[in-house]
């Protein structure tokens, strides 16, 4: 038994520090019969239709990966420079990859990572070669199709020196219940840049536990945009990000809505280790209809010349709850860390201002909420920006 498995075994009953505890024995891994598809057109329509709600288009030539339950149905590299493979294949192909497997996420972090390490996992491996810059977003997608399935995902993304990539990942479900467990390890090498946009769309009885680790070398940049506007039974994630290198930077934008009794607990923890490293954590949250939202964030200034800002804003509509827990920690003179948090209902003045321009109270509220959810997301392709706005617009409209 490998060391990873041994550590995992000991942690199988280790509860996660955050989020409701879910009994994994109620779920089973779901494998699809049949082979991998050679082209995206062959993916059955009942699957491709589902993923449109997370902005992934199977017709696009930039579709790189498609997984249903536990089975990788499709993967395609984009030229020489951007290699995309199911992780299981990549692990066989590249012996060195085991040095990057369960390195940024610990197998014994909690019972979920332990479960993941001890069961067959599948996910995408994306490797952008040195100096390659891809401007169109690579699309990947993970779909839970069968009721009661546990989807055990493991992704490894490597951006080699001076490379640049945008990735759009959509995770969604066609089933009412299911468990999405996703380990993601991101390696941003010197002067490389990954902009990663993840759009989630879950169902009433989905439990979601992403486990993410990011390491950024000198001059590297990692931008993470996370959007989840659907209901979900519980969603909890707290990525660890190490800005290791000099002048490395990380930006986390999160846009979420906890509605219809959804329980969402999200944050990110960024260690500013490199000289001149920078981080920004920004979240916009809505809680409504007994939704419960916890917005965390933790900036750790681990060197005397780092800068970080944390910003949590929340709107409560009706009877939702928002709890923000921002933490900043500096151990050196010269660190510049700040946070601001604000939670409340929409200001009446703003509603009446718009009503005095002819809108009804509902219309006014909806426009203010949409404005509030507009986070200035830097440097992402137009198409992605539009997609995000569309999803936020549609879901906030439904709120009213």
């Amino acid at each position: 038994m490998s060391e990873i498995e041994e550590r995992a075994k000991r942690a199988l009953n280790k509860k996660a520090p955050f989020g409701p505890d879910v009994d994994l024995s109620e779920y089973e891994l779901g494998f699809l019969k049949g082979e991998k598809f050679e082209s995206a057109e062959e993916i059955p329509e009942n699957f491709t239709k589902e993923v449109e709600k997370v902005g992934v288009s199977s017709k696009s030539s930039s579709l790189g990966y498609f997984q249903v339950d536990q089975s990788a149905l499709f993967s395609m590299s984009l030229g020489e420079g951007v290699e995309i493979l199911p992780l299981s294949e990549a692990m066989k192909k590249y012996k060195w990859l085991k040095d990057r497997y369960f390195k940024l996420v610990q197998p014994d972090a909690d019972k979920y990572t332990a479960f993941s390490a001890l069961h067959p996992a599948e996910g995408y491996f994306i490797r952008v070669r040195e100096g390659v810059k891809l401007n169109i977003p690579v699309q990947t997608c993970l779909l839970i199709n069968k009721e009661g399935v546990l989807q055990n995902v493991h992704n490894i993304i490597i951006a080699e020196r001076d490379s640049e990539i945008h990735i759009l990942t959509g995770c969604t479900t066609g089933a009412h219940s299911g468990f999405h467990l996703g380990i993601s390890e991101f390696y941003v090498e010197e002067n490389a840049k990954i902009s990663f946009t993840m759009i989630h769309h879950w169902a009433k009885d989905s439990h979601v536990r992403p486990r993410t680790g990011v390491k950024i070398e000198r001059g590297g940049t990692f931008i993470n945009n996370y959007i989840c506007m659907s209901e979900v039974r519980s969603l909890q994630s707290y990525p660890n990000v190490w800005c290791e290198g000099e002048n490395s930077s990380a930006i986390f934008n999160t846009i979420t809505m906890a509605t219809n009794k959804s329980y969402i607990d999200l944050g990110s923890r960024i260690f500013l280790r490199g000289k001149g490293s920078r981080a920004e954590i920004i979240s916009r949250n809505i809680a409504s209809k007994k939704g419960y939202m916890i917005a965390r964030g933790h900036l750790i200034g681990d060197n005397p010349e780092c800068r970080g800002h944390l910003e949590c804003r929340g709107i409560i509509l009706g009877d939702g709850v928002i709890h923000t827990i921002p933490e900043i920690e500096g151990g050196y003179e010269g660190v510049e860390l700040s946070h601001e948090a604000a939670v409340g209902k929409i200001a009446e003045d703003e509603i009446f201002y718009l009503m005095s321009r002819g809108l009804s109270e509902e219309e006014a509220t909806s426009i203010i909420v949409r404005g509030f959810m507009k986070v200035k997301i830097p440097e992402i392709p137009r198409r992605l920006k539009d997609e995000i706005e569309k999803i936020v617009d549609e879901s906030t409209k439904k709120l009213m």
Partner: protein
Amino acid sequence: MLVVEDLRVEVGRKEILKGIDLTIGDGEKHVLFGPNGSGKSTLLMTIMGFPRYKIIQGRIEFNGVDITEMAMNERVRLGIGLAYQHPPSIKGVTLEDIIKICSRKERIGEEERILLEKLKMPTDFLKRDVNSGFSGGEIKRSEILQLLLLKPKLAMMDEPDSGVDVENIEIVGNAINELLRGRSGLIITHLGYILKYVDVDFGHVMMNGRIACSGDPHKLLSSIISEGYSRCASCLR
């Protein structure tokens, strides 16, 4: 057009308007003077329909319809418009968004462009969050622009000429003049700069929640400027 009868209004349990009677006929332009805190803005906000201003007595009629209890957006539909003294800023809602709301259009067209030009508002303003970081003069121009697009039958303006420099007063003044062509107007002003650009028919002085006197706006203004409000106070008695 507008009839206000014996209007008493409370804000936060404090009586601010203590019995106002005011009638504005079709196409008439009225100005409202009065010291700080006398209740001028309160009157306009009440006519517009802010629920915070509680009507405890009296009624408001607009074109024969009793609007005392009517929701604000319905008053807008009937043709009442207000340019604010202190409009709020709204995060993520741009001037362009507001323009589209006022003009009821999907996108900015020729008419809007011409007005922006007239009001000397460069197009990069459109992408800015409304009123956020706008200078005093910019707020006034943006408010007038919104009224020009709303095309109300009665345009109420709360101090459109306060804090506006000499060049801007001309821009704002001409725009208000255009706005009021064929419409009724109720304008609050302290120093009456706007009277240079707009022909007004009547003036009123508000003192401590009451209209102390009414008459020729130019005469009222010159008396206020030379003697302050002391004479108006005696007028009330």
